[in-house]
Amino acid sequence: MFEILRKELNGFLNSLIAYIVISVFLTGIGLLMWVFPETSVLEYGYADMETLFALGPYVFMFLIPAITMRMFAEEKKAGTIELLLTKPLTDWQIILGKYFSGFLLVLFALIPTLVYYYTIYQLGNPVGNVDTAGVVGSYIGLALLGGVFTSIGVFSSLITTNQIVSFIIAVFLCFIFYTGFESLASINVWGAASLFLEQLGIVYHYRAMSKGLLDTRNLIYFLSVIGVMLMFTKFILGSRRW
């Protein structure tokens, strides 16, 4: 698994993908948080990081599929998948190696935003007047959400040989998982099932975590979505029908 992980990370670093992804994410979030008046913390006047945690998922929705779209699609197109699958590696080693390389990149993009926490901490009146527990919960939530989007991206990359198709499918699935279920639940036809439908979406659990409450049910939700997506990936890779 670590061979694949290292190969993928080297690939990100050598092809500039890593630098572009990280700088686009940080520039975008930085502008939203500090410059654009509609969303700026400075205009808002409250010492919290709501902007990052509310808009971060939408930035991830486009960036993560861009990271993952080539993972399997390119290998299939170039035929190198045959090379990988005839080496002494299990399917899980290949999938997890690729998955964690994408997830690590997401975490690398997230780490520099910790500076924002320090800034807001200092800007608070009195200094330190910030909901630290809420911020910690939100960071864990955002990281897990990144993990879910990455697993969706890896899966989408495997079902096609075309990177653009893979990107579009991944963005669509991320959107459905993030707010789609909640929006569906708000249609007034489900009756009692609407709560269940809402709980299928990410937003429900993400919001709960941003209150600073780490409920195991929410953790289990995120980990199971990742697990299920990766199982689908394994299933498709195992079927070898391309």
Partner: protein, 307 residues
């Protein structure tokens, strides 16, 4: 036996790619896998390397079954897939290190193996380049180096020389010959000279079925039913006299002085022609039996079924 294929069948949807084939490859043998395009060569190789599962029948590599012990088999087999897929954005050494890593080679052993492969495959001058900078011949060498890095017992090469220029083909062939001394090698091709240059034995496959499995000499002599002899006289003579010789089936003028004679293979026709010439005082300028080439054999074997 290094490789045992027994009653192997592979079906893609409706189409039978391989139909009940069986063959064996002994340790240290070089087996040529011959057949027209779409005959099922690559499919057989993909099953042997555990990339595709068989529909029925069994394939054993080093005594292990491909459906039961794929990981073990993969670690014992070096495989060069068709069209030689490579990570073009990687450097040659980086690529070989990655493949070595996957095979569990580490540290000094890995570095010394990489150096060894680079010398063996003649990549010394290219070792610090990106793979995408290399010409096709050198990419092929990288592909071979990759297949050999873990010192596999069995080497499976799917059309290792396609798309190379004649010099490169000769070089790659020499390389295969060099590395195959203590390994079992299967390689597929549709170039006949290659088989003659490299193999001990040939399996000819057509439309998913084995049409021949024999030593090259054996194959050739099986196929020869008529001998063809080219004769050249100084004089311009008619064919009637030649037709009277025992064993001659037909004789045709190619040019005024050259005659192409078909004869039975029961006995050599050439001494008789010589005797005929000296008896009639003709000057014999040339007398040459045409070699049966692998091309003839191949065409003969694969044409029968083209209904």
């Amino acid at each position: 036996m290094s490789i045992q294929v027994q009653q192997l069948t592979k079906i893609f949807g409706e189409q039978k790619a391989i139909n009940n084939i069986s063959f064996e490859v002994g340790k240290g043998e070089i087996l040529g896998f011959l057949g027209p395009n779409g005959a099922g060569k690559s499919t057989t190789m993909k099953i042997t390397t555990c990339f595709l599962p068989p529909s029925s029948g069994s394939v054993k590599v080093c005594g292990l079954d491909v459906t039961e012990e794929p990981l073990l088999i993969k670690s014992k087999v070096g495989y060069l897939p068709e069209n030689n897929p490579l990570y073009l954005e990687m450097y040659v050494r980086e690529y070989l290190a990655f493949i070595g890593n996957v095979h569990g080679l580490k540290g000094k052993t890995l570095q010394s193996r990489i150096d060894e492969m680079i010398t063996l495959c003649g990549l010394t001058r290219e070792q610090n380049k990106k793979i995408e900078m290399l010409s096709k011949g050198y990419r092929q060498r990288v592909g071979l180096a990759q297949a050999l890095i873990h010192d596999p017992e069995v080497l499976i090469l799917d059309e290792p020389t396609t798309g190379l220029d004649p010099n490169q083909i000769v070089e790659i062939r020499a390389l295969i010959k060099k590395i195959s001394k203590d390994k079992t090698v299967i390689f597929s091709t549709h170039i006949m000279q290659e088989v003659q240059a490299l193999c001990d034995r040939v399996v000819v496959i057509d439309r998913g079925e084995i049409v021949a499995n024999d030593k090259i000499e054996q194959l050739k002599s099986n196929q020869v039913e008529v001998a063809i002899v080219l004769v050249e006289f100084e004089e311009n003579i008619g064919v009637e006299g030649l037709l009277a010789i025992e064993g001659v089936i037909s004789a045709d003028h190619i040019t005024e002085n050259k005659i192409r004679i078909k004869a039975t293979t029961e006995s050599d026709i050439r001494p008789k022609i010589f005797a005929f010439a000296s008896k009639h005082n003709f000057t014999l300028l040339g007398l040459q039996q045409e070699e049966v080439t692998m091309e003839n054999v191949f065409q003969e074997l694969t044409k029968n079924k083209n209904v």
